[in-house]
């Protein structure tokens, strides 16, 4: 077998200082293989789908707040969806399904993994670009048709899929039960293509982090954002194919009538739930782990203090990744699964609460005795920590199986989901976009409007989602088009109307972030390190040139050495050599692995 590795790999990816050839516009911006351009492309694509998901949420809240009344602007919708602006029940089911599908698969996941994975990994790892630039480009250009297919499923006969984003069989396995035939098939095909995009992306991320770290950048000197994205890439790598297989089987059930999940011809509906949630639980950790990574970066930077317990933070992420594979049954306590399996899943689910608790206490430890600069990214980071506490704690209620009997499939679960996904991931995404805006566009977002947006969002967010815990405890079920048909829920209309109005305000408040984001494209340019941070991306100009580093960077220290005792500045870049190190050590020989 070959002793010396072939030389082909590394001349493939030139550093910034090594060669220049001007690319035509198409290769530079549309079909670009530069990870930063792909990050920007993912950013615009997923922000668009975030807006789409938000609009769908507003429509859901309209129907829950003002049941059966014509929606303002609703007459723009065709009669198959909302005749005279009145939302039909099957369209409401499609709204619920597509709101969750767009938000989870086309907004939060690409924003966390597609955007920050592409931008941060090569920069924080000290590589000129991803390991396989073309594959990276393919991963974006597979996500676009997936999004188009999903959007198109609204326009086909029978409307979009109405079987929930979890697409439980047999409802999703045959159009006979919902009247949705082509819509469900497009939903399945779209997610199958998106699966390819995610797998292509994560192969890239894992290879880049393992093989292309700069000399001196040992595993325990990696910033926590890259650690989180690395572990997330592993979760995607091993979970998405399971979903792909399950989607294929359901697609064949729908199209050529195979029998996998159709009980009337011998299939097993519970098998779909097992396969879906075996992918589903790693998926929900794919949605939160990168947010934890971003939060650690931002909290540490804001507090001007090293992350408290870096090693245990890394261990916690790995703990979440391993435990994430043995807890999926807690989504199925009530589903007819063997009750004894329920007990084992309850114990493993209880255990997985521990790594999250460790991370929360470490974030608090980071702020303790810090010199906290309340800049916008830090505020979003602190908001993430406070709301993730609520999300994590409400998870314990569901993990206890007897309590889950009362609150399963009620608004308690909806509150938990939104505390972890909106309060958690989305706030971390706002923090990330504001923090790394200079690396995206070379400018900085307005601090004042950033703070205004944060305060309003934080308040309105809690006003919308905290009361949902109360709705859930009263027993109000999820996905009810008109819950007030049940007399015991009839008196919940005022509270639901209040929540709906608060949500409309919350959606309007997001315009502040959108304007701040767009107008700052023309704000004044900034230097390489406006936030005075340490990791490698702050050692290159904003925005970094093609090929990122002039020459291969060499790393001498950890990413969070803020406020070193005796140093004049309260931050020090990872590429700063130690003063007492002899000059030879700084030359060719890479630091110890």
């Amino acid at each position: 077998m070959s002793v010396s590795a072939p030389t082909t790999d590394f001349d493939l990816l030139p550093f910034a200082g090594e060669h220049h050839e001007e690319l035509p516009f198409i290769r530079k911006y549309i079909f670009s293989t530069d990870h930063k351009v792909i990050a920007r492309q993912f950013l615009f694509l997923s922000l668009f789908f975030l807006v789409v998901g938000g609009l769908l949420a507003a429509m859901i809240r309209w129907q829950l707040g003002f049941p059966g009344q014509p929606m303002p602007g609703g007459d723009v919708l065709p009669d198959t969806m909302a005749p005279g602006g009145i939302i039909l029940p099957e369209f409401y089911n499609a709204l619920v399904t597509m709101h969750a599908t767009f938000m989870i698969f086309f907004a939060i996941m690409p924003l966390l993994v597609g955007v920050f994975g592409n931008l941060l990994i090569p920069l924080q790892v000290g590589a000129p670009d991803m390991a396989f630039p073309r594959l990276n480009m393919a991963s974006f250009w597979l996500a676009v048709p997936a999004g188009v297919l999903m959007l198109a499923s609204f326009a086909v006969e029978g409307g979009a899929s109405g079987a929930g984003w979890t697409a439980y069989a047999p409802l999703s396995a045959s159009g006979e039960w919902t009247g949705v035939y082509l819509g469900q098939q497009l939903w399945l095909a779209s997610l199958f293509i998106l699966g390819f995009s995610s797998i292509a992306g994560s192969v890239n991320y894992v290879t880049t982090v393992i093989n292309m770290r700069a000399p001196g950048l040992t595993w325990l000197r990696l910033p926590l954002a890259t650690w989180a994205l690395f572990i997330t890439a592993w979760l995607i790598l091993l979970a998405m194919p399971i979903l792909a297989g399950a989607l294929i089987m359901l697609l064949f059930d729908q199209t050529i009538g195979t029998a996998f999940f159709r009980p009337e011809v011998g299939g097993e509906p519970l098998l779909w739930q097992h396969l879906f949630w075996y992918f589903g639980h790693p998926e929900v950790y794919i949605l939160i782990v990168p947010a934890m990574g971003i939060a650690s970066e931002v909290v540490s930077n804001g507090s001007r203090k090293p992350v408290f317990g870096y090693h245990s933070m890394v261990l916690a992420i790995c703990g979440i990744a391993f435990l994430g594979w043995i807890v999926w049954g807690h989504h199925m306590f009530m589903s007819g699964m063997n009750p004894m399996l329920g007990t084992t899943f309850m114990v493993t689910t209880m255990l997985i609460a521990v790594p999250s608790a460790i991370k929360v206490f470490n974030w608090l430890g980071t702020m303790w005795k810090g010199n906290i600069h309340l800049h916008t990214p830090f505020l979003h980071g602190a908001g993430f920590v406070s709301l993730f506490i609520i999300g994590g704690l409400s998870g314990v209620f569901m993990a206890a199986t007897p309590v889950d009997i009362q609150i399963h499939d009620t608004y308690f679960i909806v509150a938990h989901i939104h505390y972890v996904l909106f309060g958690g991931s989305l706030l971390a995404i706002f923090a990330g976009i504001t923090f790394w805006y200079p690396k995206f566009f070379g400018r900085i977002m307005n601090e004042f409007w950033g703070k205004v947006h944060f305060v309003l969002t934080f308040i309105l967010y809690n006003v919308v989602f905290f009361p949902m815990h109360s709705l859930g405890v009263q027993g109000m079920m999820r996905r009810l088009y008109d819950p007030y048909q049940y007399e015991i829920f009839a008196d919940m209309l005022p509270l639901n109307r209040f929540i709906s109005i608060a949500l409309f305000a919350l959606v309007v408040v997001q315009v502040i972030f959108a304007l701040n984001f767009i107008l700052s494209l023309r704000s004044e340019k900034v230097g390489p390190n406006p936030w005075k941070a340490n990791s490698l991306e702050w050692a290159v100009p904003s925005p970094p040139p093609h090929g990122n580093f002039q020459h291969m960077p060499v790393v001498y220290r950890g990413p969070y050495e803020y406020s070193l005792p005796g140093a004049e500045e309260d931050y020090i870049l990872q590429t700063e050599p130690d003063e007492e190190a002899e000059p030879a050590e700084r030359s060719v020989e890479p630091a110890t692995r």
């Binding site: 077998m1 070959s2 002793v3 091993l238 399971i242 097993e268 519970l270 098998l271 097992h274 075996y278 594979w325 043995i326 049954g329 699964m337 063997n338 004894m340 399996l341």
Partner: protein, 89 residues
């Protein structure tokens, strides 16, 4: 740790072993052994031949320990899925 460039693992002998194992499986499969016995023999043989292909043809045997770890990473996950879900029925 890695062999010299010009000596190769005994490809042809492994080929013969794989062929023999395969036809052995067919014999076991078509024989009317009790199903439990037949299934366990078949599983052992196929894991053996799969291991042979992975170790010698995919050169796993000459790679670093970390690649061994990566290569065997998904298999516990496979076991968890199938062994847990099979309890249902």
């Amino acid at each position: 740790m890695s062999l010299d460039k010009h000596t190769h693992p005994p490809y042809m002998t492994i080929w013969a072993v794989l062929a023999v194992l395969m036809f052995g499986k067919v014999a076991v499969g078509l024989s009317d052994l009790p199903q439990a016995v037949a299934v366990s023999i078949l599983v052992v043989i196929s894991l053996l031949s799969a291991g042979l292909v992975a170790l010698y043809y995919m050169h796993l045997r000459f790679e670093t320990k970390l690649l061994w770890a990566l290569a065997f990473l998904p298999f516990p996950l496979v076991a968890i899925l199938i062994l847990t879900v099979i309890q249902e029925w």
